[in-house]
């Protein structure tokens, strides 16, 4: 850790002020006296200061804050449009134009549908050669026919044009020669490109099962944005030093009382 210019507020001991405490942030440690750290959660996060050492209440607050920041504020959809337009030319478009569903509503619908499909598929599989499954296959075949395109025979990528590292004087030097892996075959490329689009949630980047690659989480002073090395014992908010803790205190008292 970079200690440049740091004014140490507290050493390893906890200093108690009336109703307040400074806690030096040294990484691994039970969080606060208000809510015990969830051990399971702690185990599932990377070492070092991480989101895992927040209390459940703080975590919920954080998640709510992030969610709130994805919205346009709370007054969405309350502005009536000026003038009048038609109600929609067909029943379907009328319904679409009148819909007040949000993206979150549509996402919920999609997940419910996926679940229903999975259940239906499981049922169909258990009653072997079930009629549902057969119909499904028939439908798929007819769809494929309708979409059938004549296959051109030229490769998708032209082998010589696939990458362009700038020429380098060491290119021909056997000692410096880079071991550039060979470009996949046309068959491999076709297989890659035939993959259907992922669903909205599948495409979302996650750290699933890859905790080792996760960078350590940095925490900042809520008041000034410098490193958040000190924690308010009352609410868990991070601040950098005495100055900012005092500023925070005023707000904390209003929010949580003494």
């Amino acid at each position: 850790m970079n200690n440049f210019g740091v004014f140490e507020v507290a050493s390893a001991k906890t200093t108690n002020a009336p109703g307040w405490a400074y806690v030096p942030d040294t990484g691994h440690r039970p969080t606060s006296t208000l809510a015990p750290t969830n051990r399971k959660r702690a185990r599932n996060t990377a070492p070092g200061p991480s989101l895992g050492d927040l209390t459940a209440r703080q975590e919920a607050r954080l998640r709510k804050e992030v969610d709130a920041l994805m919205n346009d504020g709370n007054r969405d959809n309350t502005i009536p449009l000026p003038g009048k337009r038609s109600q929609g030319k067909t029943g379907a478009t009328r319904k679409i134009l009148q819909s007040q569903k949000t993206f979150a509503n549509h996402l919920d619908d999609f997940h419910a549908m996926q679940q229903a499909e999975a259940t239906a598929a499981a049922t169909a599989a258990s009653s072997k050669r079930g009629s549902t499954l057969k119909n499904q296959t028939d439908m798929d075949t007819s769809m494929t026919d309708a979409l059938a395109v004549t296959k051109p025979h030229s490769p998708i990528l032209k082998p010589l044009l696939t990458h362009f590292p700038p020429p380098h004087p060491g290119d021909d030097d056997p000692l410096l020669m880079s071991r550039v892996p060979s470009v996949p075959s046309d068959e491999e490329i076709r297989a890659l490109l035939s993959h259907p689009p992922l669903t909205y949630l599948e495409a979302r980047g996650t750290w699933d099962g890859n905790d080792a690659a996760k960078p350590p989480i940095r925490v900042f002073c809520e008041v000034c944005g410098y490193w958040g090395r000190v924690r308010c014992m009352k609410c868990g908010t991070r601040v950098c030093a005495l100055d900012c803790l005092e500023t925070h205190r005023e707000e904390c008292v209003t929010r949580y009382g003494l």
Binding site: N2, G5, L51, V66, L69, M70, G73, D76, N77, T78, I79, P80, L81, P82, R85, G88, K89, A92, T93, Q98, K101, T102, F103, M143, L147, V149, T150, P152, S154, I156, L157, K158, L161, T162, H163, F164, S178, P181, P184, L192, L193, S194, P196, L198, T199, Y200, E202, A203, R204, G205, W207, A213, P215, I217, F220, C224, G225, Y226, L242, D243
Partner: protein, 443 residues
């Protein structure tokens, strides 16, 4: 796609006009195909209502002078058109109404529309129904915006010597498109104009989140700005940059101890700037100026200076930083460099050199100073030493996708991609959706 291709099946005659819409969450990029291509209109994709309860639709919003306490309603949410009542109002005023700047008759027009990757099927179906059943476009293609960028002369963008005679007008062979827009940031490997769907990844950090995060920080540190989205967005665009060395810049903004202010803090440390706020009285636009300690001195405050200045310090680089380290604001997703790494790890290693040497970044967020340098530096760190990493930003990253779509609209590929109104009526909505998802596919 080879020049000596076999005779094509007869194509239905092409409609008189082609309308190209890149329907973003912040702005709608719209234009009719012409020769030579003229730049698209960039229209705020929203309905706004000011303090006096006057309503502004789309391009009218550019004329709002007093943006304080403005209420906004946007048809696009998380990258997808969700509210069609609002979207139709903006579309109608763009190309349908009398006096609309791009007025055309949809029954004689082909529509090329962009969408974000991994859209929800129900929202895609809504879109297709509105396009054919409500507007009655003659033909239509809905495709992933990132892939359209492949139709640019990519080798010119990367300033590569043309040692290989490229097939005229063909899409780039291999490229990685990063689209960082208002809703989110996506990573899409593109092979000869086709998205490699299995490797598309999304980071839910976009311009909106950054603006709202800045509003939150400024509200905590100065005064409540949570209902000043317009102003905060302008502050963000004027003042924010991507730090080449985050830790160093955080240290430079340290204010010092209680007794003793840190010297660099007093002078601004080369980072602090003042944003002169509009008073919506005599000053309608804010302005970013160098930090001047004198502006904040007590005597000046007492003298009643009418200038209200907001000093920005680490807010300048902590905001765009969340695209690189989303956990800084409590978001549990990998940052953009890690996302690129994850995307490539699902692909054969043989594609890496081509993808890494051709990273094209588009969308409004890539305009932050330092964005491409930082991305290049961090991607290099995540791959073997002998991988050349090049990151290029087109001249206008906001209209780049639209421009690419305009080139595609003149390319033979478009005939394989579009669906006519007749086909829609014959095949039905779900088959049309499948055809769009397939795109050029492996064919």
């Amino acid at each position: 796609m080879a020049p000596g291709r076999k005779a094509k099946p007869p194509q239905p005659s092409r409609p008189a006009n082609t309308l190209i819409l890149d329907n973003g969450a912040a702005t709608l990029k719209a234009g009719l195909l012409s020769n030579p291509t003229t730049p698209p209109l960039v229209i705020p994709n929203l309905v706004a209502r000011d303090r006096l309860r006057k309503t502004y639709v789309g391009s009218e919003a550019s004329a709002i002078r007093d943006t304080s306490d403005l209420a906004l309603r946007r048809p696009v949410e998380r990258g997808s058109i969700v509210n069609w009542e609002v979207q139709r109002e903006i579309w109608d005023r763009t190309f349908l109404d009398t006096g609309a700047p791009l007025r055309c008759d949809p029954s004689e027009t082909r529509l090329v529309l962009t969408e974000q990757p991994n859209n929800l099927p129900a929202l895609q179906a809504n879109c297709d129904q509105i396009v054919f059943e409500e507007y009655g476009f003659a033909s239509y293609y809905r495709g992933v915006g990132s892939t359209f960028n492949a139709y640019h002369d990519v080798q010119t963008l990367f300033r590569t010597p043309k040692d290989h005679p490229t097939v005229a007008n063909a899409p780039a062979e291999v490229m990685l498109v990063v689209d960082s827009g208002y809703s989110h940031t996506t990573v899409t490997p593109v092979l000869a104009g086709r998205a490699v769907h299995s490797a598309v990844r999304r980071l839910d950090v976009g311009g909106k989140l950054m603006t709202n995060y800045l509003a939150r920080l400024l509200s905590l540190r100065h005064f409540d700005m949570r209902s000043e989205t317009f102003l905060v967005n302008e502050i963000k665009e004027a003042a924010c940059y991507v730090s080449p060395d985050f830790r160093r810049d955080v240290e430079r903004c340290w204010k010092g101890t209680r007794g003793e202010k840190w010297a660099e803090y007093l002078t601004g440390g080369g980072i602090a700037k003042d944003y002169i706020l509009p008073d919506f009285h005599t000053r309608w636009k804010g302005q970013l100026v160098d930090y001047d300690p004198a502006r904040h001195s007590k005597s000046k405050k007492i003298a009643g200076s009418d200038e209200d200045a907001l000093t920005l310090r680490n807010e300048r680089f902590c905001i765009p930083e969340i695209a690189f380290n989303p956990s800084d604001m409590g978001m549990r997703q990998p940052g953009l460099p890690d996302l690129i790494h994850q995307s490539l790890q699902t692909l054969p290693v043989g594609l890496w050199p081509g993808l890494l040497a051709n990273i094209l970044v588009v969308g409004g967020n890539v305009l932050f100073d330092g964005f491409i340098q930082r991305l290049q530096k961090e991607v290099v760190q995540r791959f073997p030493d002998d991988c050349v990493v090049r990151v290029a930003r087109p001249a206008d990253p906001i209209t780049s996708t639209w421009q690419g779509a305009a080139i595609l609209a003149n390319h033979p590929h478009i005939e394989k991609l579009v669906v006519t109104k007749k086909e829609y009526e014959e095949l039905g909505a779900s088959l049309v959706a499948r055809k769009f998802a397939q795109g050029l596919g492996a064919g």
